[in-house]
Amino acid sequence: MLDDFFTRALLAGVGLALVAGPLGCFVVWRRMAYFGDTMAHSALLGVALSLVMEINLMAGVFLVATLASLALLFLERRGSLSTDALLGILSHSTLALGLVMVAFMTWVRVDLMGFLFGDILAVSKLDIAFIYGGGAIVLALLVLLWRPLLAATVNTDIARAEGLNPERSRVIFMLLMAAVIAIAMKIVGILLITSLLIIPAATARRFSSGPEMMAVLASAIGALAVLGGLFGSLEFDTPSGPSIVVAALVLFLLSLIPSPLAKTPDRATENRP
């Protein structure tokens, strides 16, 4: 069954969507969309460095994305520029550095488009093993850390006063993000990774009454977008990564249509006696 490239693509995409859903919820709740983008853009630098040092691509991307987030934390502490400006600097300079380095590497053939926009149809059995192995670890850690992460998202001071450790949660959350970026790179590509984190979570919001429900729904909606996008890409011969994002967008737009299923907080309370 795994010998069919399309089945492998489906498995890989769904696996990624399951992990991206809950993590994407935190990205939305913590308003870290641009931050996620910055980490994702640094992935190309990770690719270039792994090619130079001849190490595993996913490992290289994970390392560089982690370093980028740590660099941001450090620069934030120094407090000379706003986070927004720092993100802008880090995001595009790491991407540009990666592009320049790759251009210098005339001795390796690099499929730049594949890295930027994903090459899900070239997913290998080893990639699937990485996605499900890494994904299981990320999800397990997320379940373990759910309470401190959520508490720190609602209010850092409450979390700290009541004995949880928001700083530690934040660092671990960044490591999880780096891990997801590393496994997502091949599927949707560096430029589109954050969309798979944010769009399903944003779609899930309207149908959720609690944070846990939103996380599970975001996974399901992400998986649906992967299925829709891949079948669409097969049908219309479109690139797979962007097709998945377009499918996610269609689901998001559909969710905006008023329906009795969708409960905004206001309506939910109005319905009470």
Partner: protein, 289 residues
């Protein structure tokens, strides 16, 4: 009737938190300096002071949310803290109902959640989305959440903000009730410079340092205030008259009771003998009420 200035009857009134000459230096200036403060079990301590006087900083330092730059803070080992911060802004993207808010930092049983919500008078709101609550409902929900932890020390940063006068009196009654029932210590920040909760044992007035401290006077002892606030409110409110021995001038210098003017005020300079000078800031007129 209220039991003012009677020693708390709960336990041995052990010291929960103690600050010695604590100061916090951030971003090039002292937010607060030279704070001595003690909260014992069953005791209510209220911090007052103008905006930016270091009230929230002092409370956060007392519970370990901020670290003191100088001085010492001692907390009882394994002190359970319930904290209601000054401002909790929830992003709409995070769906959260009141019941889920209750287990934010620690798990709790359904029965415990219901008891805490009932105690805070918001039992009927369990299923409501937090984003749809009114100011008073939200404050009470946050209070219920802090209560649920069965804290040794309850820290309330402006608990009556965004609550109307009747709501304020009711909230103070609730806070007194909590203290009486659980015997916890309470460190509270008041948004008002002169009116504090009647059951406050010690009022500490801050203005970058401890300006003065003392016990409030019951409103009930004054027929005038009694008439002004109404009988029920008078039981919950007390008046704190400031006895400052120095005045903060507009240019940042300090005028002392003996008329001398210095660049800074030092805690050891003429402490509490002359009560001539009161605040001179526009909002700080003790006799205007």
């Amino acid at each position: 009737m209220l039991k003012k200035h009677t020693p708390p009857e709960h336990g041995s009134s052990e010291t929960l938190v103690e600050m010695h000459n604590a100061g916090v230096f951030r971003a090039g200036r002292w937010l607060v300096r030279g704070v001595d403060l003690t909260v014992k079990r069953g005791e209510i301590v209220t911090l007052i002071g103008p905006n930016g006087s270091g009230k929230s900083t002092t409370a956060k330092t007392a519970i370990g949310v901020m670290q003191p730059t100088e001085g010492h803070v001692h907390r009882l080992k394994k002190l359970r803290i319930g904290y209601v911060p000054q401002k909790v802004s929830l992003d709409w993207t995070l769906p959260l109902n009141v019941e889920r808010l209750m287990t934010l930092t620690a798990p709790a049983s359904q029965a415990e959640i219901r008891t805490a919500l009932e105690a805070a008078g918001v039992g009927h709101l369990a299923g409501r989305q937090v984003a749809a609550l009114s100011g008073g409902e939200f404050q009470r929900s946050l209070l219920a959440r802090a209560l649920l932890r069965k804290p040794d020390l309850l820290v309330l940063d402006e608990p009556v903000q965004g609550v109307d006068f009747t709501g304020e009196v009711a909230l103070y009654e609730l806070i007194r009730d909590i203290r009486d029932r659980t015997g916890c210590g309470i460190l509270m920040i008041s948004h008002d410079l002169h009116i504090v909760m009647a059951d406050t044992d010690t009022v500490i007035c801050l203005n970058g340092h401890v300006c003065c401290r003392g016990a409030p006077q019951s409103v009930m002892e004054s027929p005038e205030y009694n008439r002004l606030f109404g009988a029920r409110a008078a039981q919950s409110l007390a008046v704190y008259s400031h006895h400052h021995d120095h005045t903060h001038l507009a240019d940042g210098r300090v005028r002392h009771a003996d008329g001398t003017i210095t660049e800074h005020c030092h805690p050891e300079d003429g402490h509490h003998h002359g009560d001539h000078d009161h605040h001179t800031g526009g909002e700080e007129k003790p006799d205007a009420r």
